[in-house]
Amino acid sequence: MSSHSHDQTVPSAEPRDRLERDAFWERLRHVTPARIGLATTGASLATTPLLDFRIAHARARDAVTAPFDSAAFQAVLASSGQDVLGVSSMASDRREYLLRPDLGRQLAKADHLALAERARPCDLAIVLADGLSPAAVTRHGPPLLEKILPQLTAEGWRLSPLIVVERGRVGIGDAIATALGARAVLVMVGERPGLSVQESVGLYITWAPTGTTTDADRNCISNIWQFGLSYDAAAFRLHGLLKQMFVRRLSGVMLKDDAITDASGRSIDAVEGDDIGFDLQSR
């Protein structure tokens, strides 16, 4: 029996109805990773989807506690010719990192000096932090940077070395940008593992970050992974936001990505491409 056949327990259901329902859910499961059309018994979940859920949660729990091999990750980034520097937050281990987000936003004392030595005026500090999924930034960091960096370099942006942070949260980018003398900061961070995806990253940009910067001062592009937001779409959206941010000299809720079109004038929606059967021409 398929683990997904919907509502196996209705005694009055004719086989024809059941086949129709199975076909219905089969179609719909192609358009979303959500757990739809699950097998039930009474009002409750059947055993198979119950255990499917438990496996996914176990994977996520294991992803949160997995170690981050910062040195190996720095070596991978350096192998593509990038200037790389590794730093740490004030959190001393993974448990303290989970319980003390304030420490995850502060730079370890010794690393202030290391960054100060590399300080020179630049437009954008680029920070990669393990966050809540070390595997996510390890996996998506290098290919995503390949989509982001060449265009910025070609356009003459002055970029900082790549700063790799252990046990870092988004806010640590503010301290890093300040120490480096950057006008703005981009932070790529491993997002909290979910059941469907344990390895996704988010991009955060902040204009003129300081010690008093809040999350309302940032813009975020989230959910970047192979079946989420694609590298191309994320890089495209990021580039649009960065350009706007430098023109308007601000970031946060006042900066929206509605004005973004690519060179051909297509909107971001067209670039991402919906090949779905749902009519949405009601605009």
Binding site: D7, V10, D17, R21, F24, R27, L28, V31, T32, P33, A34, R35, I36, G37, L38, T40, G42, A43, S44, L45, F53, A56, H57, A60, R61, V64, L98, L99, R100, P101, L132, E191, R192, P193, G194, L195, V197, S200, T214, D215, N219, I221, N223, L229, R237, G252, V253, K256, D257, D258, I268, D269, E272, D274, G277, F278, D279, L280, S282, R283
Partner: protein, 459 residues
């Protein structure tokens, strides 16, 4: 200065904020903020001192300064002395007894509601056991209306939460179909968008409108974007039913969210002017959660549960349709495990209901918290007994966009059947019309309703 003595040990607490914080049941967020009790005995000493404190005192000492905080000003300036009169002579401890007494009925509670401040409600909650939080909240009744009636006795409504990692309209629609066929969606169909793009938000609003009209659905829709985005979309003519916003309990927290009371009032008025509600015009949808003020570095040394209750003063000002405490979303640094999440969810529901709010709860946890679905079963079952207005319905309890676990359509269905609770009456009628109820009135899918089939597979 407040004092209590246990045995030979004397304890003192310099001000009301400290007293409330030290009296709070243990949670990681108060430890993180440095305001928690230093020992189990100090916590009980603070509770003893708090129990002796007259409720009148709360009208004379603010936990966040009146001069610098517009929420304190809202609480003080809007306080209703006439509604307060019946409890004005009580201490916090006596008030807890009063709340639990047979003489205090649903009607009594609704009469005193404008006389209660958030800090009073928070104080009472700190003396209550979980059982008290449930028993008192169950006596409260808060009913709101837009296209459905939410919060009637014997009813439990669901926010259908059809999120998709890239806001794909077909993917969103598929999750909506799943939820509707399992009896969810009577509180709202509400999407958390992955993007804050106004164009994408508009597109999702149009999708929800199309589904609602084609299925003749008695419910309301919402895309949970920032209030400034919603305000712009109202001006552009998008089909906006509800105005969503996350809110906190201090002015500085709300500033970190990019909002103020004036901005909320502007959005409230704009949405009201659309006149889209058919049976009522409660149209604000607020989300809250303990820990947001500390997260925004805006807690003023006040404990997270008291600040959460202060957020309800903001909500109360706008007669919302729905207030949702997203209890376990914020993470283990604020609520470490299942025990802390369960207690916090019941405290929030209790305080919100006392303050006259249509409280719902996103019974949830993240994968870095020490919690699992068993803890969610406990909290959901307790909240349903406490008379919670609505909870979340997420496909398989797994939010594939936000990456956390909530309650599933099945979870709600099982709890409704366990406790004999029905959906909102208008939505219940719709389920019957679609042939989704069996002869016992249970939601069981025997045949796909043809409007749903036509909508999802249009060829």
């Amino acid at each position: 200065m407040f004092k209590a003595t246990i045995g030979n040990q004397r304890y003192s607490f310099d001000n009301l904020a400290i007293l409330l914080a030290k009296a709070s049941p243990h949670r990681s967020g108060d430890v993180l903020a440095g305001v928690a009790a230093d020992s189990a005995q100090e916590r009980v000493a603070a509770q003893i001192a708090l129990a002796d404190l007259p409720l009148r005192h709360f009208l004379n000492e603010a936990v966040v300064p009146y001069e610098s905080d517009e929420i304190t000003r809202l609480i003080v300036d809007r306080h209703d002395p006439a509604a307060f009169a019946p409890i004005a002579h009580l201490t916090v401890g006596e008030w807890r007894d009063w709340l639990l007494s047979d003489a205090t009925t649903t009607e009594t509670l609704s009469q005193i509601q404008p006389g209660i401040t958030p800090e009073m409600a928070a104080a009472a909650s700190k003396l209550c056991r979980v059982q008290d939080l449930i028993a008192i909240a169950a006596k409260c009744c808060v009913v709101t209306r837009f296209r459905t009636t939410i919060g009637l006795p014997g009813r439990l409504s669901v926010r259908l939460q059809p999120n998709h990692p890239t806001d794909d309209p077909a993917g969103v629609a598929a999750s909506i179909a799943d939820g509707l066929l399992l009896g969810a969606g009577d509180a709202v169909i509400g999407i958390n968008p992955a993007s804050d793009s106004p164009d994408r938000t508009h597109q999702l609003l149009c999708l929800l409108e199309e589904i609602r009209v084609k299925l003749d659905l008695p419910t309301q829709s919402c895309v949970l974007s920032h209030v400034t985005t919603t305000l712009d979309l109202i001006r552009r003519g998008s089909p906006v039913d509800l105005v969503f916003q996350s809110i906190g309990g201090t002015e500085a927290t709300n500033r970190s969210f990019g909002i103020s009371l004036d901005l909320l009032a502007e959005a409230h008025a704009a949405a009201q002017s659309l006149g889209r509600g058919t049976i009522g015009n409660n149209l604000m949808y607020f989300e809250t959660g303990q820990g947001s003020a500390l997260s925004a570095n805006a807690h003023h040394g006040v404990d997270q549960q008291t600040l959460e209750a202060r957020a309800y003063a903001v909500a109360r000002h706008f007669q919302p349709l729905l207030v949702n405490t997203v209890v376990g979303f914020i993470g283990p640094e604020y609520l470490f495990d299942g025990k802390q999440i369960i207690r916090a969810g019941l405290e929030d529901h209790f305080c919100g209901k006392l303050l006259g709010l249509p409280m719902g709860c996103d019974v949830c946890y993240t994968n870095h918290a020490e919690a699992d679905q068993d803890d969610m079963d406990v909290l959901l079952t307790l909240l349903a007994n406490a008379g919670v207005n609505f909870v979340m319905g997420v496909p398989g309890a797994d939010d594939v966009m936000l990456g956390y676990q909530s309650t599933s359509f099945h979870d709600v269905l099982a709890v409704r059947e366990l406790l004999g609770l029905r959906p909102a009456p208008e939505f219940d009628d719709w389920l019957l019309k679609q042939g989704l109820l069996n002869q016992d009135g249970k939601v069981r899918l025997s045949e796909l309703p043809s409007p749903v089939r036509k909508l999802m597979l249009p060829q």
